[in-house]
């Protein structure tokens, strides 16, 4: 699409598909693991991107953005892990094998090539807070695969939970895993930064997704430690493709597209270098 080049939108192709539900499993209290058969989306997906998931109920018009937790280009299987937060995700929790669900994706920029490639010898934190963990799985898998004979970076997943754990084994397959829980029921009692500091861990690159207070704290921590820091943001979305300007965040510079220091989370994001945005 020549369109993309003119505004600096990454020229990735987006697809609208009716996907088939392969399986939907409750993996923790209110957390579901949804496997979908897609024609093109899984093959095109990059770590950190998301899909728009549409309700089958006509009273709910807007798509729900859900991060890509896993994508198998060969089989077309797309994995979404979500928390029941309201009516839309409640509906998705009731999907079962054979049902159909509309998707648009892959959407957003995802983690940049500079993070995905050439990290051998470095340490990368994959930090997920609660329902921010799912995108870290796909990112871990990609980084663990390495990009050349030099091999993969050291990967440390730092996961923060309110209570019940999920996706821990998935991340253990690709990385060391450090856990923090609010109630101290597992790992460090406290948040992800408590866990990092408690173990005196250091990273060259931080990739994180989770609640805004966590992202804010990580931004400061990265500045202090000099680490490169990539944050995946959330904002309410309507179109999911950059047209409606619902989902903006404040950028530090006046950007090319908005001219008013607004960046679209769905298009210029959801992954931003922490120095490029205000939180």
């Amino acid at each position: 699409m020549q369109a993309g080049q003119e505004t600096g939108i990454r020229a990735v192709q987006k697809f609208r598909e009716k996907a088939e539900v392969l399986q939907n499993t409750r993996i923790a209290k209110g957390i579901y693991d949804l496997r979908l058969k897609t024609k093109q989306i899984a093959a095109a997906a990059k770590p950190g991107q998301f899909v728009s998931v549409y309700s089958n109920d006509h009273s709910r018009l807007l798509p729900r953005p859900i991060s890509i937790c896993g994508a198998d280009p060969e089989s077309g299987e797309l994995r979404l892990v979500f928390r029941v937060a309201g009516r839309g995700t409640e509906e998705f929790s009731r999907l079962s094998a054979g049902d159909r669900v509309d998707l648009t994706g892959p959407l957003g920029n995802g983690f940049p090539e500079s993070v995905l490639k050439g990290q051998a010898g470095k340490t990368v934190f994959l930090i997920g807070g609660g329902i921010g963990i799912p995108p870290m799985v796909q990112l871990a898998r990609t980084l663990a695969a390495g990009d050349d004979e030099k091999g993969a970076p050291r990967l440390i997943s730092v996961l923060g939970f309110r209570d019940e754990l999920f996706l821990v084994d998935d991340l253990k397959a690709y990385s060391e895993v450090v856990i923090a829980t609010e109630d101290g029921s597992c790992g460090t009692k406290g948040n992800v930064l408590d866990a990092i500091r408690g173990r005196n861990l250091k990273a060259d690159v931080i990739c994180a997704c989770g609640p805004t207070p966590m992202l804010r704290a990580l931004r400061v921590y990265a500045q202090e430690t000099g680490a490169e820091c990539w944050l995946s943001l959330e904002e309410k979305m309507a179109c999911g493709i950059g047209a409606c300007l619902s989902c903006v965040c404040k950028s530090t510079d006046i950007d090319e597209h908005s001219r008013v220091r607004n960046k679209r989370v769905c298009t210029e994001g959801p992954v931003f270098n922490s120095i490029d945005i205000e939180l």
Binding site: L61, A238, C244
Partner: protein
């Protein structure tokens, strides 16, 4: 026999009566990955002002039953960037372009309209006087017949292109406003803009939108839009572009039968990027099934 889908708005011929509603389709660029813009009657671009506007804080939207509230706050990069980037982008397509214009005062509207005078790609101007955030003397422009007539006249004087006035539904009698726009020299009317609404987040006990109130759009408001189009079609002679909750050909045909010469599809684009094309195909199918030679025969056929 292929039915004739073309319609004319203020001397501009559209290949079919279906456009996009301002603010829901960007400048078409993002949607061009899903929809062939050449198929549209017209692309209506996001509201533009003479200088960049930052818009409102987030959250800017929330969902409501069969609708949504938005308080984007008319964020836009200003006329200059818009012309250089968006109008330039639209040059490659064989469709009409309606440029939606906003401002904080009559001067700002006129300034923006003047800047657009030399833009060849702007076929029509749509003047958004219904923005709830834009006030003059405490009243939104769009709810006062006198103010509507005055701003219409001022814009008309400055504009090279035909002028469509876009009306607010938040009024006691929309016919009065429509007549005022007509008296001011408007070439056409667009209706309706969003209905002011509010959602409260009961868990957090606060407003769902940072701006508190927002504009309600989507299928929820369709019956109100049809009623207003029908009322105005009986009251003015200039053509009406009908919008508000159109999500399929049936909704578009309702508007046309109520008196709209063309229609715009807005919020429904968010649920399905190809809605506009489905609407176009559906209208054609209706004409074929019912052996109607031209969509123009349906305009205002229900009285």
């Amino acid at each position: 026999m292929q039915p004739d889908m073309s319609v004319e708005i203020a001397g501009v011929l559209l290949k079919n009566p279906v456009m996009t509603a301002s603010g829901t389709f960007g400048s078409g660029q993002e949607f061009s990955e899903f929809v062939d813009l050449n198929r549209l009657g017209a692309v209506v671009t996001k509201g533009v002002s003479s200088v960049p506007w930052p818009g409102n804080p987030t959250p800017r939207i929330c969902e409501t039953p069969s609708g949504m509230l938005n308080a984007i706050g008319l964020q836009n990069p200003g006329e200059e960037t818009f012309a250089k980037r968006d109008l330039k982008f639209l040059e490659q397509f064989d469709t009409k372009v309606v440029v939606n214009v906003c401002g904080h005062s009559t001067e700002e509207y006129v300034d923006c309209v003047r800047r657009l005078a030399d833009e060849k790609r702007a076929d029509l101007l749509e003047i958004n006087i219904s923005c709830p955030n834009v006030k003059e003397g405490g009243i939104s422009f769009g709810t006062n017949p006198r103010a509507v007539e005055q701003i219409t006249a001022a814009v008309k004087k400055a504009a090279r292109q035909p002028v469509i006035m876009k009306l607010s539904p938040n009024v006691t009698d929309i016919r009065e406003i429509a007549k005022a726009a007509e008296a001011g020299g408007a070439d056409a009317l667009s209706m309706i803009n969003t209905i002011t609404g509010m959602k409260i987040d009961v868990r957090r006990r606060t407003f769902a939108l940072a701006n508190r109130t927002g504009g309600l759009s989507g299928p929820a408001i369709h019956p109100v839009a049809v009623r207003m189009v029908w009322e105005c079609a009986q009251s003015v002679k200039i053509p009406i572009i009908g919008m508000g909750g159109i999500a399929d050909a049936e909704g578009a045909l309702e508007m046309i039968m109520a008196g709209a010469s063309a229609v715009s599809v807005g919020t429904a684009n968010f649920r399905d990027q190809t809605t506009v094309v489905r609407v176009i195909d559906g209208i054609r199918a209706y004409l074929e099934e019912n052996q109607i030679g031209s969509v123009r025969e349906l305009v205002g056929c229900v009285r």
